[in-house]
């Protein structure tokens, strides 16, 4: 235990890590707030830059960006009615009406305090829940990893996409891309066609930056002309009475946030919408009608989306399965730094877990003063026109891709994946499952073959084990539920849920 405490405070005591966390949180607020910059994009690009760093330094910076970014989206949602990030869509519904009433300052202050509160509750759930889940994860057999990996890809594909078929296609495409190169078991080439370049595999950081950076930039070229509206902001620090009044609600919506965040594949955006819906259904006497500037309407989504961040860390640190797109990228980073995300992560490297927890707490503390200040400069930066912003993102993407191995070929890969991602996105495919497939593909391959070899290549025995082992049976049920939940009846239910906050 004393060791855990020392790892917990590692980033607090080390001035450099302290600085990185603060810088990450600060930068994250802007990344989240500037429409056109997303946390996933920033984290993918940063992974290539931080690849020579120590893993703790990279994680400190990324945790700050992640937490700050999810919060930052609320600011542009309130001030400009443009959610800076998908997780702030629900916040705009009541945040912007509040700003129009001249209460932008109060709204920003309240969302800041509530985001921090949600973050703390989420971190508490991470600190308590993850070690428990980790003990359970030790009992997992190779076929369970296989099921988990497939479930993770399916969840990302089904919850965020247009149709399950498109999510499945994207996920399988990712798995296939992940297979390119030498087979680790037999050292046989797969899809290498005699090329030395290809036997090293397709550089997945180039793929990430292509899909999340270049493709996103190209999609945004379709909406160049949107200009934001300016707001006046005066008093920001919220009155204590106001905060106290919404504590019970924020506790409930934080719980929603953690649970949704911990579900593989579902992130802050879905958590925020569900929390908004919860607030709308359970608040009998809102400060104003919902949609016209109810305080409840900004408290609920903002606590939930920040609680979802530590929530998403739970499956990432205990099972090696990402909770959302950002944690998928972070898992990629852990691999680059020689870690093996999976059930053994907390046993082999317990310091990593407590470091992450301590680091999230620190970033969350930084969020409070940073969120309550700097609004004036903020408005200026957020109004950066896309004509200036997008070329800059591209230069960073290209340099980041180049920097991994000083190899110009990686930059060509990046552009190739960027163009592919652009068309995929335009035709309603999600790129998240592709990335997840690339990262989880080797795990799926190895787990499947180990499980198959352990039953001496008899497919019937292989299938039977999915139902005779309790853990496998539960995972099979979860998988089946995910597929079934895509049926018409369920999507009508979700449609009502999502349609409700938007009227």
């Amino acid at each position: 235990m004393p060791e855990a405490v020392s790892y917990f405070f590692m980033s607090w005591a080390n001035p450099y890590l302290l600085f990185l966390t603060a810088a990450g949180t600060f930068a994250g607020i802007y990344v989240g707030a500037i429409p056109g910059l997303s946390v996933t994009m920033a984290v993918s690009i940063l992974i290539s830059f931080t690849f020579k760093w120590h893993v703790n330094e990279a994680l400190a910076l990324i945790a700050g960006i992640y937490l700050g970014g999810v919060y930052g989206g609320a600011r542009s949602a309130i001030l400009l009615n443009i959610p800076g990030a998908p997780s702030a869509i629900a916040t705009a519904l009541d945040g912007y009406p509040l700003a129009k009433r001249g209460e932008a300052g109060t709204a920003i202050g309240l969302t800041t305090v509530m985001s921090v509160l949600g973050g703390f509750l989420g971190i508490a759930a991470l600190a308590i829940g993850a070690p428990m889940l980790s003990d359970l994860a030790l009992l997992f057999a190779p076929r369970d990893y296989l099921l988990l990996a497939i479930w993770g890809i399916l969840l990302v594909g089904s919850l965020s996409g247009e149709s399950l078929a498109k999510g499945v296609f994207a996920g399988a495409l990712g798995v296939l891309i992940g297979m390119v190169g030498l087979d680790p078991m037999t050292a046989e080439g797969r899809f290498t066609y005699g090329s030395v370049q290809l036997s090293a595999g397709i550089p997945y950081v180039a793929a990430m930056i292509g899909f999340f950076g270049v493709a996103e930039v190209l999609v945004q070229l379709h909406q160049l002309g949107v200009t934001p509206i300016k707001q006046n902001v005066r008093k920001i620090v919220p009155a204590w009475g106001l905060v106290k009044k919404y504590l019970p609600l924020s506790a409930r919506t934080s719980a929603i946030g953690v649970c949704i965040g911990a579900l593989p594949g579902a992130g802050g955006d879905i958590a925020a919408l569900m929390a908004y819906d919860h607030a709308k259904r359970t608040t009998k006497d809102p400060s104003r009608p919902f949609g016209e500037g109810a305080y409840e309407g900004i408290v609920a989504p903002e606590t939930a989306n920040n609680a979802a961040v530590p929530g998403a860390y739970i499956p990432m640190l205990t099972l090696g399965i990402p909770g959302d797109a950002v944690t998928a990228v972070i898992i990629g980073a852990l691999y680059i730094h020689g870690m093996k995300p999976g059930p053994m992560l907390m046993i082999e490297t317990p310091h990593l877990f407590w470091f992450c927890v301590g680091n999230l707490v620190l970033a969350n503390i930084f969020l409070l003063p940073m969120g309550l200040s700097g609004i004036r400069i903020f408005a200026k930066i957020v109004e950066t026109p896309k004509a200036i912003l997008l070329p800059l993102i591209l230069v960073l993407s290209a340099v980041g891709t180049y920097a991994i191995e000083n190899n110009p070929v990686h930059v060509y890969w990046m552009l190739g994946f960027g163009l592919l991602g652009y068309f995929l996105k335009m035709y309603g495919f999600q790129v998240g499952p592709v990335i997840l497939g690339i990262i989880l593909g080797p795990l799926i391959d190895a787990s499947y073959r180990r499980a198959m070899i352990s039953v001496a290549d008899t497919p019937l025995d292989f299938l039977a084990e999915f139902f005779t082992s309790p853990i496998s049976a539960i995972l099979v049920a979860a998988l089946a539920f995910t597929v079934l939940s895509q049926s018409r009846a369920w999507s009508a239910f979700m449609g009502r849920l999502r349609g409700a906050p938007a009227h």
């Binding site: 020579k52 078929a165 797969r190 591209l394 340099v399 920097a403 930059v411 391959d445 073959r449 292989f462």
Partner: protein, 162 residues
Amino acid sequence: MTSRKRRLPGELVFVLVALLFALTALWQSYRIAGLASWSSPGAVPMLAALVMVVAAIRIALTASRRPPPAQVPGVTRAAAFAQALLPRAVVAFTLLIVLYMFALDPLGFVVSSFLFLVAGMWVLGSRRLVHNVVVSALSLAAIYVVFQTAFSVVLPGVLGAC
């Protein structure tokens, strides 16, 4: 992407290309180890490719049931595709990226990025040339300093020579 009633221009072609790709991948995966064993190196690639084929057929069926994209008289299908998927900004910007990539090695990071930024801002509609030049130079200087010091990233040679 929200659900929509009509097909996008080129959607059917895209889905068919995806199906063709999946079939090719299936054949190529088969060639890794054939059907020798259930745990061969080719097993997971084949399963993944098979899943892609099935999903692509499903997507193609859904897409084919949707009404075709709205036809505006006098606009060819190619033009409708270009308008929806490849507007001028996307084409011009993509071409610039390609030029930038090829310039990166011979010209070096600073020169090629500077030219790309100035041209990119212009193409995307920021018409204040002096403003663009100043912003490009300042941000490049910032990127250069931050990356060389904080990230110790080796940027492709300053002037291409090194």
